[in-house]
């Protein structure tokens, strides 16, 4: 009975989101038939979507914990730079990739420790690490791109499998794995509980600090993965990658059902959130807006999603649930 209800409960939002996306796509295809519904347009926007998707999944977990991770963009950039440098210096591909994943995870663990054991507010801790690692990325590159990467590596991000871009497949895989694991693993159950109330979780015998570190590490890992994929796709490591990506990730996750207060979040919802944001962004570009508008739109969408968030929380408060 519990599962049935859950499906229904989630379906409500999933349904609305799916319908909204389909409607938007339909409207856009009608208004701009030549430019919108073309393979190249959809293809190129799907590419950026993949990075956002992976990051948004990580952000969903962090939001479930009642926290936030402002450092995901810099982690992407930093990882891309380090991996690119390693490859440029002749390191074999697999160890370089592993190093990238390790770095992302390490930074995530650092974030988690600062928030858990250090007692820092999540936004302060990740504001700090955001600055540090964006800075380190620039230190390592002095602003230049790191190029000269082996073909084998860039093939990963640029290649296709069965006609579909590798990136899309990888992002889809990540989302699918998480979508399956989050509702099932005991670990994520603990994540939801810690996010609902750290004190109640503590009194119930859950090691909140460890869960925080684990959650942030996962977010860092995924950001590292995004960095590797971005380096592969663009055949370079660049300190300027992923600027502003954290806001888009937060917006997507909140649209998908996560709340800033913690304890809620759905991977499937986040996927739809990412798609919706992508459709809105693309629509703007279709109407003559330049890509630069994306940043402004992220901001406005974020405020909008916060409206949704507060409506949800208010409803819960009225029911005496918070």
């Amino acid at each position: 009975m519990e599962e049935q209800k859950k499906k229904l409960h989630v379906s409500g939002r999933i349904l609305t989101l799916s319908v909204t996306i389909v409607v938007c796509v339909a409207v856009m295809s009608f208004l701009k038939p030549e430019t919108f519904f073309t393979v190249s347009n959809l293809g190129s926007s799907l590419t950026t979507v993949t990075f956002n998707l992976i990051l948004a999944c990580g952000m969903t977990v962090v939001l479930m914990l009642g926290c936030v991770d402002l450092s995901v963009g810099p982690i992407v950039a930093f990882t891309s730079v380090v991996v690119a440098k390693l490859l440029q210096g002749g390191a074999p591909i697999v160890p370089a990739i592993l190093a990238g994943l390790l770095i992302g995870s390490g930074i995530g663990a650092l974030n988690g420790t600062l928030v858990g054991y250090g007692g820092l507010a999540p936004f302060v801790a990740t504001l700090g690490t955001q600055s540090v690692f964006r800075g380190l990325s620039y230190v390592l590159t002095s602003g230049y791109s790191v190029t000269g990467l082996p073909e084998g590596f860039s093939k990963i991000g640029q290649g296709t499998l069965w006609g579909i871009s590798n990136l899309i497949l990888i992002a889809a895989l990540v989302a699918a794995v998480l979508a399956l694991l989050v509702p099932r693993l005991a670990f994520f159950k603990r994540v939801y509980l810690v996010g609902t109330s750290r004190s109640v979780a503590f009194m119930s015998g859950i090691n909140s600090n460890l869960i925080l570190i684990a959650g942030y590490t996962l977010s860092g890992f995924l950001a590292g993965l995004s960095g590797i994929l971005m380096a592969s796709r663009y055949a370079m490591g660049n300190a300027g990658f992923a600027v502003g990506y954290e806001t888009q990730a937060i917006a997507a996750a909140v649209i998908g059902g996560a709340v800033m207060a913690g304890g809620e979040g759905s991977i499937l919802g986040t996927v739809l959130g990412v798609l919706l944001v992508a459709v809105v962004n693309n629509s703007f570009i279709q109407f003559g807006g330049n890509a630069e508008w994306q940043t402004a739109i992220s901001g406005i969408m974020l405020v909008f999603t916060l409206f949704i968030d507060v409506m949800r929380t208010r409803k819960a408060k009225r029911k005496g649930l918070i």
């Binding site: 693993l185 009194m203 090691n207 029911k319």
Partner: protein, 502 residues
């Protein structure tokens, strides 16, 4: 009597329950009037109503014969009533003078605070109250007792003639209490102040009050004046004649060995030298009033809070619990009195709440949650404890108090404890569920569990405890065997009275 304040039929409801009903009493001009009663009697609520923090649902307040309506603290000030709350609200990074004149400092035409003027005025106020402190001193450097004096000075400086003090002496030493009383007497003598205060300390009440009013369960019982004020009479009025509600639930199994022993537990500022022994198959009741340190000592014992010193022996071995997680793993589980903040995940469904403390037991080898096993276990408890409505997926916050408590019990029992510590287990719970819980506790004890019952409800303590540990102000005041123990004897132990007469 020249009554400065008259309360007529005051009633106050919170969430559908009356916390005060038909309270009518008079406060005489210039007197020191104490308001006493057990926990939950409604004293603090009544003070907050007089002080303008709450509005009464029923009844009328009259000052100097005229009806007054108070919507907030500022309006109370305008009517000459000021309240000093139990939780101090001083800004400890600012000076005494700044605290006294918070928000209404004397200013020049640029809006700049006239420091000299402010300090002079503050000095005058302090002087009138006989306080020798430099107004430029930072409040944070002062002791808690002095901070309280400053807060009193702040409130008094609003030109009030009725001063309300909510539990002013709960964190003060004897010397500081004496100092405070001297201040109170001075205010009454020199400024004609009327002082109303809440206290649990009967000896203080006797020392300083002209008259004492007693509340019990939201009702006004009576007022004592002058020579009528004796400890025995006050205790009698606070607890009433409730010989009938005792009906002791006797144990059905023989006493087991000592499973948990605490010796000399101390935490600076919270409790001192707490010791007890807990046997299997028995219920040890810990009785005390607010601030007694019962919950604090248990929280430190299970590792949720710091423990400065003391020894804990469990199953014969000395242990030091570092977190509730460790306690639960060992079989010691604590059911909190604070359901909302520490006990339940309110927005989460029952099943999540019930398995929260036993996730390990419901995790499969593949690290997933064994939904089927969990579902069965939760279903089992829903049936056994008759949780209403009997569904698994409604958020815990939507349940009534009694059912929430049942959910908490399910959670705690699911961990298969050897020691069960329950803190105010029937707070906010209706009579039917209360009975159920009482019987359940005795049954649990009979099944071999050692039960520690913390409660401030004396009837509940006497109904269930095989032994009663009495705590007051962070110390143990006595360990009593429950052989026809009366409420009066327990209260006497709290206050250290040897004999309690009619």
């Amino acid at each position: 009597m020249d009554a400065i304040l008259k309360l007529e039929g005051i009633g106050k409801m919170f969430g559908g329950n009356y916390v005060l009903k038909d309270v009518s009493l008079e406060i005489g001009r210039g007197e020191v009037h104490a308001v006493i009663g057990e926990n939950g009697a409604g004293k603090s609520t009544l003070m907050k109503i007089i002080g303008g923090i709450y509005e009464p649902n029923e009844g009328v307040i009259r000052k100097n014969g005229e009806k007054i309506l108070l919507h907030n603290a500022i309006e109370a000030y305008k009517q000459g009533i000021g309240i000093v709350h139990q939780e101090l609200s001083v800004a400890d990074n600012l000076t005494i003078a700044e605290n006294i004149f918070a928000g209404r400092q004397p200013v020049n035409r640029f809006g700049f605070v006239r420091e000299k003027q402010m300090c002079e005025d503050a000095g005058k106020i302090l002087g009138e109250m006989g306080i020798r402190l430099d107004p430029r001193e930072k409040v944070g450097n002062l002791s808690v007792a002095m901070q309280q004096i400053i807060e009193i000075a702040k409130v008094v400086s609003h030109r009030i003639d009725v001063l309300i003090l909510d539990e002013p002496t709960s964190s003060l030493s004897n010397k500081e209490i004496a100092h405070l009383f001297e201040l109170v007497r001075r205010l009454c003598r020199e400024q004609g102040m009327t002082v109303i205060f809440i206290s649990h300390k009967l000896d203080e009440v006797m020392a300083i009050s002209d008259r004492v009013s007693v509340l019990r369960n939201g009702n006004f019982i009576g007022t004592l004046s002058g020579e009528e004020i004796t400890a025995s009479r006050m205790i009698h009025m606070m607890v009433g004649d409730q010989l009938d509600s005792r009906s002791f639930l006797a144990p059905k199994t023989p006493e087991g060995e000592v499973i948990l022993r605490a010796e000399g537990l101390c935490r600076e500022g919270k409790f001192r030298d707490v010791s007890f022994a807990l046997q299997k198959n028995r219920i040890l009741g810990i009785f005390g009033l607010i601030g007694a340190g019962r919950t604090e000592s248990i929280l430190s014992l299970i590792g949720a809070d710091r423990l400065d010193s003391g020894r804990v022996t469990y199953e014969g071995r000395e242990i030091r619990l570092s977190s509730p997680k460790e306690a639960i793993a060992k079989g010691i589980v604590y059911l909190t009195e604070n359901r909302r903040d520490l006990g339940l995940f309110l927005p989460k469904e029952i099943s999540d709440n019930v398995i929260a403390a036993s996730l390990g037991a419901f995790t499969t080898k593949r690290h997933t949650v064994d939904r089927k096993k969990a579902g069965e276990a939760v279903e089992g408890y829903i049936q056994k404890l008759k949780i209403q409505p009997p569904v698994m997926d409604k958020p815990a916050g939507t349940y009534s108090g009694g059912n929430q408590q049942k959910i908490l019990f399910s959670k705690v029992l699911l961990t298969d404890p050897k020691v069960l510590i329950v803190d105010e287990p029937t707070k906010g719970v209706d009579i039917g569920v209360k009975m159920t819980i009482h019987h359940m506790l005795r049954d649990l004890a009979d099944s071999g569990i050692a039960v520690l019952l913390i409660s401030s409800e004396l009837p509940e303590i006497l109904k269930l405890s095989d032994r009663v540990l009495v705590m007051h102000e962070g110390e143990c005041r006595g360990l009593l065997e429950n052989r026809d123990l009366t409420e009066r004897e327990v209260m006497a132990a709290v206050y250290g009275e040897k004999e309690v007469q009619q």
